[in-house]
Symmetry: C2
Subunit: 402 residues, 2 copies
């Protein structure tokens, strides 16, 4: 059995934690597994390096920033190999160059293209634990790149795919995927299994356990993902293509407060207006989420949409540039909103899930401002202050604690 | 003109110093030079990394220690490239992998074998300053290696040789090579030029400006070396094959206090004894320097030699092991001695230089305990407490201040 195990920065923040992770990996090794370990930089080291860069150049060239940042994971993997050596187990650390992890050339946000597995397989054949730097790659110019947010998860999944691993374990500070955030919904329950698609919707919607790109990649290559805690031996949640029917319509409830609603009022009602509006936002790299178009007065229309709250300024700048061209009468924003979603592969074949959600929000006197749905998801936009109440009543309504 | 400039850890210890080095390199760049910069790790970063390694494993595997240590120079070069960018000058940082710097496979003490210059030349053609990690290489297993003490000097000289650079400037905290250590001999004078051989003898004898291996390499490939200060614009000292005749027999006086004298008394006077003695020391990795053999009483002989003082314990351990086999009667050590040497290419064709040195030591009432000579060097062993006086009288005697 070949297992890829990924540990984040918190899990390797100091020597004691590194030793714990080493022991955990050695358990699998002694049980006869081939073990590949993927590590992030220790603790907040990546932030330390970014601050260091900005102290000498407020706008450091991205290529050089990646050159600097990739030292973080190299330190982690070398320290881990030393820890394993002190425990008497042979291991070898490899960075992106040594593997090699080929990526696209975009510094700071590269995509993995191809992984050479020869070196890894040779080291595994020598009965070594192979410890690999997460988050980093090498582009066609032979330069270091980094993969952007959640990059180490992506490294782990891509390695699992390339090595045809039996499973890819992602260790976090929570012990699995829950029906809702346990800090908000006390009755939240850990799921044994969840499908890739459900996990994708949960990840996008702010459950924050796994990064989207890693789940997409796992789905594409059928990598069996397991989310587990690095702090205890709990089983975790398995993410795979088809899960056992648990007679559940809904797998979980998620909330996302990084939302601003923008309304563009009084647009001319002629073809191409919506295109030009969203094209301007896309060119400013702003992800637009929920969209609502309504007919206004006097042959005009209003368009309302949501964006990540931290992109509000960029969005308003982009809109200001086209305000006159599109004859906008007004632009309103509301940052005190949040998205609440239910996700479940079971709802595909079950009509009435959405209306059941709306009903329980109505009963709780929570106003729905926008609605968006997909095959396995229903999302509503509500006032931010109602989020906790909404999640709890929905969790109760669908009986997720059972 | 192509120039290689090497700066040590002290010169890049903080942002302010990095900016100073950047500006210094940019002067040459703006004057039309192709500029290649070689950097050590910032300040004491290498020591910090070694301590970090030892905190998790008192005997870290050398391969992993090199993997850890090589992050130090990678941070320096990335920071330097960011500094140059902030000054509006295009540059690119490269580590040992990217260059590539091929070395032997001995971790911690690798030797450079071959440097690929294609990437460097391409970047220079793009009118960039190329900033390269010193001290590190890659071996045939695709693993990082480090070059051992003085490694960054060696990197710089090897790059200068591979690129056929017009000169290789080594920046230190002194502004050149002196006729004697200015802290000891007040009248010491900076030399404009010195030959490789003289520099080699001075380096070995503790002048401490350049590491031996870099000077040997410079001699082998005819690299024009310049030792300069990173703190001022002073011209420095040029090290090359043949220097202008300055009508000087002696170029400089050097002292080395890292010396212990060991006398092995009452050895049997039969063949193979000396061989077995020094073979035991060689196997313990101890560099033996001056050697004196004398006939003792009763068909025995005494052997006296000097070793680096910090290897005294290892040497005595090695001798203890063979004490009985060789029938040694006694082992005496004296750690309160020091070597004082005069070096000069001019003395080759001038007999009488040594006796002039002995004469002035005699006049100063300084006892000579051992003597050793080469074609361009005379070394005497004296009491440590006499070193300052000896250096000054010798400096005066040979008129080195003029």
């Amino acid at each position: 059995m070949l297992v890829v195990k990924k540990f984040g920065g918190t899990s390797v923040a100091d020597n004691e934690r590194i030793m714990n992770v080493a022991k955990r990996c050695i358990e699998d090794y002694k049980a006869g597994c081939d073990v590949v370990v993927v590590l992030s930089a220790m603790g907040k080291q990546t932030d330390v390096l970014i601050d260091m860069a900005k102290s000498i150049n407020p706008n450091p060239p991205r290529r050089e920033l990646d050159m600097l940042m990739t030292t973080g994971e190299q330190i982690s993997v070398a320290m881990m190999a030393m820890a394993m050596d002190s425990l008497g187990v042979p291991s070898v650390s490899l960075n992106a160059y040594q593997v090699a992890m080929h990526t696209t050339s975009v510094y700071g946000n590269a995509r993995l293209k191809r992984i050479d597995t020869e070196r890894i397989r040779n080291e595994l054949d020598l009965k070594k634990i192979v410890i690999i730097t997460g988050f980093q790659g090498v582009n066609k110019y032979d330069d270091y790149t980094t993969l952007g947010r959640g990059g180490s998860d992506t490294t782990a999944v891509a390695l699992a795919a390339a090595l045809h691993a039996d499973k890819c374990e992602i260790y976090t500070d929570v012990d699995g995927v829950y029906t809702a955030d346990p800090r908000i919904v006390k009755k939240a329950r850990k799921l044994k299994e969840i499908t890739y698609d459900e996990m994708l919707d949960l990840a996008t919607l702010g459950a924050g356990v796994l990064h989207n790109r890693s789940v997409e990649l796992a789905k594409k290559y059928g990598v069996r993902l397991v989310v587990r805690s690095s702090l205890n031996q709990s089983e975790g949640t398995v993410i795979k293509e088809v899960v056992k029917v648990e007679r559940m319509l809904v797998s979980g409830v998620a909330a996302d407060k990084n939302v601003t609603r923008i309304s563009v009022v009084g647009l001319e009602d002629r073809p191409g207006v919506a295109f030009r509006l969203f094209d301007a936002l896309a060119k400013a790299n702003i992800n637009v989420d929920m969209i609502l178009q309504s007919i206004g007065r006097d042959n005009t229309k209003d368009i309302t949409f949501t964006i990540p709250r931290d992109m509000e300024k960029d969005a308003l700048d982009a809109l200001e540039n086209i305000k006159d061209t599109l004859n906008m009468q007004d632009i309103n924003t509301n940052s005190k909103v949040a998205k609440v979603s239910i996700v479940g592969a079971g709802m595909m074949s079950n009509p009435g899930v959405a209306s059941k959600m709306f009903e329980c929000l109505y009963n709780a006197n929570i106003n729905i401002r926008m609605i968006s749905t997909s095959e396995i998801r229903v999302t509503v936009l509500i006032d931010e202050k109602e989020v906790e109440k909404a999640m709890n009543v929905i969790h109760d309504m669908f009986g997720l604690e059972d």
